[in-house]
């Protein structure tokens, strides 16, 4: 019967795939200096992230780096990627960015696995969930791929070096200080609007902030708790609205996430509470420009996101070249960053980019122009 033959053929096709699996378990070993299996030029590169930078004349070993942010099409990560691209053109090598469309760790893993299969030199990753990416990253490291964390750290043991944008305790203190400065006489109720409940970096910063708040200097600030906006503008908005309504005496909303801080500022403006409720936290200069001038967010902080991407790429380059290994105490220099002073690798392979910037009315226009985001 024809039908049965068709079924058989289907089975054969699947079997062929399986035989491939058994037969070629000897993978082309991704050696460190191997030419990259860069995405072929014939592929539709309408995606803004698929942009291998020209490295034809690079004398350095043709390094290939894949950047996997928490989420594609997130402006924060796109700016970091521009920094990585600049580093690739300065230092040699190619860099591409791929990632999930939602900030979901389970969607990040296939990209990690694909990069491993392709034998890239290094993966630069901001983990949606510290532990969910561990098996895939450890498999990558076992296959000789260097792993550099940035922005949000994978769990210890699943990376060679983690580039932290700023010292966690420093960010926590900064958040507390900005809240203190915005609350009249450092007195009043404050609350936090965060990102996803499981976000490693936000949770670390909030914990550091709470520790700082125990100090006598902040004794007149009352902490009302944390709500989660999932980095979704609609959810962040309703959460911020709920905060305002549930705590009528609220003075400051602290939002350590670029999506949440914009939502909170917009909510304060729409509720006509400008001047009685203030917003602070971590935000992009361009996104917050209108709100700084309008008075909803007198000050907020961030770091140089472009530099973050640049440093992450530079670290990846040095790891693959073998000049650093990621052990505590190692130092290295990256031309153009940190005033050309050396970086020191700290505990758990963490490197700190530098102190955060505080933006306010006086400098916001200048930084929008110079940062470009």
């Amino acid at each position: 019967m024809i039908y049965r033959a068709q079924r058989f053929a289907a089975g054969v096709a699947v079997l062929a795939l399986v035989v491939t699996a058994c037969g070629s378990s000897a993978t082309p070993a991704p050696s460190v200096a191997a030419p990259s299996a860069a995405p072929s030029a014939a592929a539709p590169s309408a995606a803004p992230s698929a942009a291998p930078s020209t490295s034809a004349a690079a004398s350095a070993a043709a390094l290939s780096v894949v950047v996997i942010p928490k989420q594609i099409n997130n402006p924060y990560f796109d700016v970091a990627f521009k920094g990585a691209q600049k580093a690739a053109s300065d230092l040699g090598g190619t860099v591409t960015q791929v990632g999930p469309s939602a900030a979901d760790a389970t969607q990040q893993v296939p990209f990690i696995q694909t990069a491993t299969t392709q034998g890239v030199g290094a993966i630069v990753i901001s983990a949606d969930d510290a532990t969910a990416v561990v098996p895939a990253l450890q498999a990558a490291m076992a296959a000789g791929v260097k792993v550099v964390g940035y922005d949000s750290s994978p769990a210890v043991g699943a990376y060679n070096v983690f580039v932290n944008q700023a010292d966690t305790a420093g960010i926590g203190k900064g958040l507390a200080d900005m809240a203190c400065a915005e609350a009249p006489s450092c007195t009043g109720e404050i609350a936090v609007l965060s990102a996803a409940q499981s976000a490693t970096n936000q949770n670390a910063w909030i914990d550091a902030m709470k520790t700082t708040l125990k100090d006598a200097k902040y004794s007149k600030l009352v902490f009302d708790g944390v709500v989660y906006g999932n980095d979704d503008p609609q959810v962040s908005t309703t959460q911020a609205q709920g905060l305002l309504q549930a705590h009528p005496k609220l003075k400051v909303i602290i939002a350590p996430t670029t999506v949440g801080i914009i939502a909170a500022a917009q909510v304060v403006r729409a509720a006509k509470k400008t001047g009685s409720v203030f917003v602070t936290g971590l935000g992009t200069p361009k996104g917050m420009q209108d709100y700084v001038k309008g008075g909803e967010a007198p000050q907020f902080a961030l770091w140089n996101v472009t530099d973050l991407g640049y440093l992450a790429y530079a670290v990846a380059a040095q790891l693959t070249a073998g000049t650093i290994k990621g052990t505590e105490g190692e130092t290295f220099t990256v031309k153009g960053l940190n005033g050309d002073k050396p970086y020191t690798i700290g505990k758990d392979g963490v490197v700190v980019l530098g102190p955060p910037f505080v933006f306010d009315k006086a400098n916001i226009d200048q930084f929008v122009a110079s940062f470009g985001f």
């Binding site: 309408a46 803004p48 992230s49 099409n73 997130n74 402006p75 796109d78 469309s101 939602a102 709500v227 989660y228 979704d232 503008p233 609609q234 908005t237 309703t238 959460q239 609205q241 709920g242 905060l243 309504q245 549930a246 009528p248 999506v259 914009i262 939502a263 917009q266 909510v267 403006r269 729409a270 509720a271 006509k272 361009k286 996104g287 420009q289 209108d290 709100y291 929008v368």
Partner: protein, 341 residues
């Protein structure tokens, strides 16, 4: 039934009559439930009923309600449109981008946005009526395709408030005699569409196609045209929602309006628009949107754990739909008993 020689059989009790009346009018039932909800929550959290809180809640609910009106037309014909969230997101971004690049003045940009929504809706309608693709499949596909278009247009950027004309997002807070502007717009949309549904042949045809497609064909209704039009209207209203979305949030990302389809469909369903087609009203869909918005707000104000929100959403949908079915059964049973007597 007993064959007694009857004096007039006793009529239904007052309670039973009230239940029947409520059953026949989902809008009434919902209004009653909303009233009770307000009472209960206001006792615990008085600022639930404050002007500022209600303004915020109803403004956001108005946007969902407008989209739900369009969706309910589609559902009434026994179809579904999963792609509304992508339409809303794409229109919001395109309008914001047009304004950022100063290509058109405000009202022209809005018109362009609504026009885009109309085109997207017509695309859905064409795929479904011309190529006979079931609406679940077609809109599942266009959900991704339109969103992909959104990402393409965005090219990795978002539109910040600073890029838009000064005071652009203030429209979301305008109010007339205390009623937010968006709520007024939503009411206008609901009234217009409701009148169309009630007074025009098109409205009757929508119900006819949804109740019994074959019968509709037999009596000469061009059901494919009717379905095409409902998708077109749904797209246009999603476009309106997209324009308002942009004003409400100020900053538009390529991912804006994710997860809105579920809210819109839930609003329609809770509002009495039957998935099986042929029943429900646009007023009900709008009231459903209001109801769900109020529940979300109540949970926040009562400071209940966020996790409960999903549980309550699910429970509300199940209760609403079960109530529909039970009441329908009851009505049929009563009618059957009445007929026999």
């Amino acid at each position: 039934m007993s064959a007694e020689v009857s004096a007039r059989p006793a009529g239904p009790s007052l309670g039973s009559r009230i239940v029947s009346m409520l059953g026949r009018s989902r809008e009434l039932t919902l209004a009653g439930v909303i009233f009770l909800l307000c009472l209960v929550v206001a006792i615990q959290a008085p600022h639930f009923l404050s002007i500022s809180n209600l303004s915020q809640v109803t403004t956001l609910a108005a946007i969902i309600a407008i989209a739900a009106v369009g969706e309910s037309l589609v559902v009434m014909t026994k179809n579904i449109d999963l792609s509304v969230e992508s339409t809303i997101g794409l229109v919001a971004f395109v309008v914001a981008d047009i304004l950022r690049q100063k290509m058109l003045p405000g009202p022209a940009a809005w018109a362009a946005g609504i026009g885009l929504g109309l085109v997207l809706g017509m695309a859905n309608g064409a795929i479904i009526t011309l190529f006979r693709v079931p609406s679940l499949v077609a809109t599942l596909g266009t959900l991704s395709i339109f969103r992909g278009l959104d990402f393409f247009v965005a090219g990795g950027h978002e539109v910040n408030l600073a890029d838009l004309p000064a005071g652009y997002s203030d429209a979301a807070t305008q109010a007339f005699f205390g009623v937010p502007l968006f709520v007024i717009l939503a009411i206008i949309v609901v009234v217009v569409v409701a009148l169309v549904m009630r007074l025009t042949p098109f409205g009757r045809q929508v119900y006819a196609v949804g109740s019994n497609a074959e019968a509709a064909l037999i009596i000469g209704i061009r059901s494919r045209l009717v379905i095409f039009l409902t998708f077109a209207i749904c797209g246009a209203l999603a476009g309106v929602a997209g324009v308002l979305w942009g004003m409400e949030f100020g900053t538009i990302y390529a991912t804006s309006a994710s997860n809105v389809s579920l809210q819109v469909i839930a609003a329609a369903v809770v509002g009495g628009v039957a998935i099986a087609g042929g029943a429900g009203t646009v007023v009900g869909a709008a009231v459903g949107a209001l109801f769900l918005g109020l529940i979300n707000n109540a949970l926040l104000l009562l400071q209940m754990p966020q996790e409960l929100l999903q549980v309550i959403y699910g429970a509300v949908i199940l209760v609403a739909v079960s109530a529909d079915a039970l009441i329908q059964r009851r009505e049929r049973r009563l009618a059957a008993e009445g007929a026999i007597q």
